[in-house]
């Protein structure tokens, strides 16, 4: 690192006392990044931008929104009709949640494909899973705020999940509600938490970046940089590449905001919450559908054979399965036993990765369907596969799979793309 170069005496004076300029220079300008990152590496910065967009629009909405069961729905309609550009800010915020999840899910699948969670990046990955959990909590509570039918009944269904906890479940649910049903105290605390959690996310994002910059980004080859020839400064190379990715992202985002703003929403949420009328199908937002499918996949009690003693009833089983599907991700770095990171050199893992992607898409599709056959069985198979992928297939693959030879360095195949790089590749050694 050559450090901050400037002739500006004020900046020098300031930086000597509080080195923010050096810090920015070190992490966003000179920061050495692998030279071979592909477009799948755009989604991290896009997720950061999505977070900023959500906080900015959310702040503006909070200035006009009223968190009260009698006024919440009306205040949102007032934002849509009478507040200057209120419709724009709200549609950005509404669709921003979906786009935030799209980029984060792609970011995670990128990590899965290229083994970005492996040593020494386990903490980086774990922080990412924490961010996902926080995002899910924030999105769920945000969806309750407009106080439409789906808001209300979604909140009722999801908070009721905690009643599956043995002995103390019902007490926990009353405690979460602040009463005996989803009501004004629930809406108030959800508003408070919906405002708080994004800043907690921002703090964890900071830790995520800190952990990232400890060893630098993984790359499509999954091998460590051997020297300066393997790296390029973040600015201008990745700033311009991220900017291009941002342009594509914003075009797609704008298409939804301006031309299909309610496509990803549910019509029932334009009906004000009514505790006496239950919607025909209570469906969560699309980004929760795979998890919703897993929740509903457990339709059977788990009991001790031949005794009829129920250990885990279907409801608790579903809740454990749903939360387990995410908690499992914390253990991924140790479940995947292969020392090779990138699926480019893991012919079997590459195929199982795509099966996992299909299983997740199937779960999402099943989650949108009513709990009837054949969807129940399909959801159960996909759920079983999801868990098997992480708990059985990944630990076995590391032992059974014969990885392809790894290239000697990052700059080798990049600079000699005529294929001569491959001739220098030597067989993979146990890391």
């Amino acid at each position: 690192m050559s450090g901050l170069k400037t002739n500006n005496r004020v900046i020098k004076w300031f930086d000597h006392r509080l080195p923010v300029f050096s810090y920015v220079n070190e992490h966003l300008v000179d920061y050495p990044a692998p030279r071979n990152l592909n477009y799948m590496w755009n989604f991290g910065s896009l997720a950061g931008i999505a977070l900023v967009i959500m906080i900015a629009t959310g702040l503006l909405l909070a200035m006009q929104y009223t968190p009260h069961v009698d006024h919440a729905f009306d205040s949102v309609e007032r934002i849509m009709r009478d507040v200057n550009f209120g419709w724009l800010i709200r549609y950005i915020h509404m669709n921003g949640a979906s786009f935030f999840f799209i980029v984060v899910y792609l970011h995670m699948f990128r990590g899965l494909y290229y083994g970005s969670y492996k040593a020494p990046r386990e903490i980086l990955w774990g922080l990412g899973v924490i961010i996902l959990l926080l995002m899910m909590g924030t999105a769920f509570m945000g969806y309750v705020l407009p106080w439409g039918q789906m808001s209300y009944w979604g909140a009722t269904v999801i908070t009721n999940l905690f009643s599956a906890i043995p002995l103390v479940g019902d007490s926990i649910v009353s405690w979460l509600w602040g009463g005996f049903s989803v009501d004004n105290p629930t809406l108030n605390r959800f508003f408070g938490l919906h405002y708080l959690l994004p800043f907690v996310i921002a703090a964890v994002v900071f830790l995520h970046l800190w952990a990232l910059h400890r060893f630098g980004s993984n790359n499509p080859l999954g091998i460590d940089a051997k020297g300066p020839q393997d790296k390029i400064p973040f600015h201008p190379y990745y700033t311009v590449k991220d900017m291009f990715g941002l342009g594509i992202f914003l075009i797609l985002f704008a298409l939804f905001i301006f031309y299909a703003p309610n496509y990803m929403g549910h019509p029932d949420n334009y009906i004000e919450a009514d505790p006496l009328v239950t919607p025909a199908h209570i469906v969560p937002e699309w980004y929760f559908l795979p998890f919703y499918a897993m929740l509903r996949a457990i339709t059977f009690d788990i009991s001790i054979p031949f005794t009829g003693i129920v250990l885990i009833d279907a409801k608790l089983g579903g809740v454990l399965t749903m939360f387990g599907s995410i908690l499992l991700l914390f253990f991924l770095p140790w479940l995947d036993s292969s020392p090779v990171r990138s699926s480019r050199f893991r012919p079997l893992h590459k195929q199982f990765f795509w099966v996992l992607v299909v299983a997740c898409l199937v779960l999402g599709y099943v989650g949108a369907k009513p709990p009837e056959q054949p969807w129940v069985t399909i959801g159960q198979i996909a759920t079983a596969y999801y868990f098997a992928h992480f708990l059985i297939i990944l630990p076995l693959l590391g032992r059974l799979e014969r990885p392809k030879p790894l290239p000697a360095s990052i700059s080798d195949p990049v600079l000699k793309s005529d294929g001569s790089g491959a001739s220098q590749a030597k067989p993979m050694e146990k890391a």
């Binding site: 030279r35 799948m40 989604f43 309609e77 009709r81 419709w87 390029i232 291009f244 937002e285 699309w286």
Partner: protein
């Protein structure tokens, strides 16, 4: 670029899987062409005014429109004097006056459309137990929105022989469960259109659907016009950044 295309495809795949949620429910609603569809869609002012006439003369006797104010009717092409005249036909409760009494007065442009019934109980009592829902957001609160409203209003038929109608119910092809408490509200000629258009049930249904779409989404025209500018800007911006990216990275390859 291949990877980018792949990720976009994946994103769209996710979206479509979500969209299936609403598409699979109930009877297939026939799609209609609306002037407000597409990138450059705008409301047809004539249809909006006719649709408002239908609301004013038919629907408003049972259905409220609580998020719409009389002043909003300027979107339909009415001028201030016309809006004042329309408002003055409705009366709203105001007060308390200096004696502490509530009183009724003619509505003004700044008032919202007053509800036809004092409360839900009064509405049910007057409608055989059924509650006529508020119409302000109806075009966004049902799958297929305006298509659904048109289908419902034109979907009254004789009940098939194997269906036994409950008392006070009417058979409708497109209503969930097919039995609806609302009597067929429209009949040919029930409204006399100011612009001389022939008031067939189909014409009135299309007009009220367009009006209700406006009531639910009054900023649609602003939104679409801004969208064109934003997307054109973003296309140019992204193109320039891509060119810059190519030029900068050329040194590396």
């Amino acid at each position: 670029m291949k990877k980018l295309a792949l990720s976009i495809t994946a994103a769209i795949g996710l979206l479509l899987s979500a969209g299936a949620a609403t598409a699979a429910e109930g009877v297939e609603i026939p799609e209609r062409d609306w002037s407000f569809q597409g990138f450059f869609g705008t409301y047809d002012r004539g249809a909006l005014q006719r649709g408002f006439q239908v609301y004013d003369q038919v629907c408003s006797s049972c259905h409220s429109l609580r998020f719409v104010a009389f002043r909003n009717l300027s979107d339909l092409g009415y001028d201030d004097a016309e809006i004042r005249a329309i408002a003055s036909k409705y009366s709203v409760e105001d007060g308390p006056d200096e004696n502490g009494e509530m009183f009724m007065r003619d509505a003004e442009a700044s008032d919202k459309f007053p509800p036809p019934f004092a409360n839900e109980e009064a509405a049910r009592a007057a409608n055989g137990g059924a509650y006529p829902p508020d119409l302000s957001l109806m075009a966004k609160a049902r799958p297929a929105g305006p298509d659904y409203i048109y289908a419902l209003l034109t979907g009254y038929t004789e009940a098939p022989e194997d269906v036994e109608l409950m008392s006070g119910m009417y058979y409708n092809e497109y209503f969930s469960g097919h039995q609806i408490a609302m009597a067929p509200p429209l009949s040919n000629g029930i409204v006399e259109y100011a612009d001389g258009t022939e008031p067939t049930v189909s014409q009135m249904s299309a007009d009220i659907s367009e009006f209700l779409m406006w009531a639910a989404e009054p900023k649609l025209e602003d939104r679409k016009q801004m969208g064109v500018k934003v997307i054109l800007f973003l296309l140019v911006f992204t193109g320039l950044v891509y060119a810059a990216k190519r030029k900068l990275w050329a040194k590396l390859h």
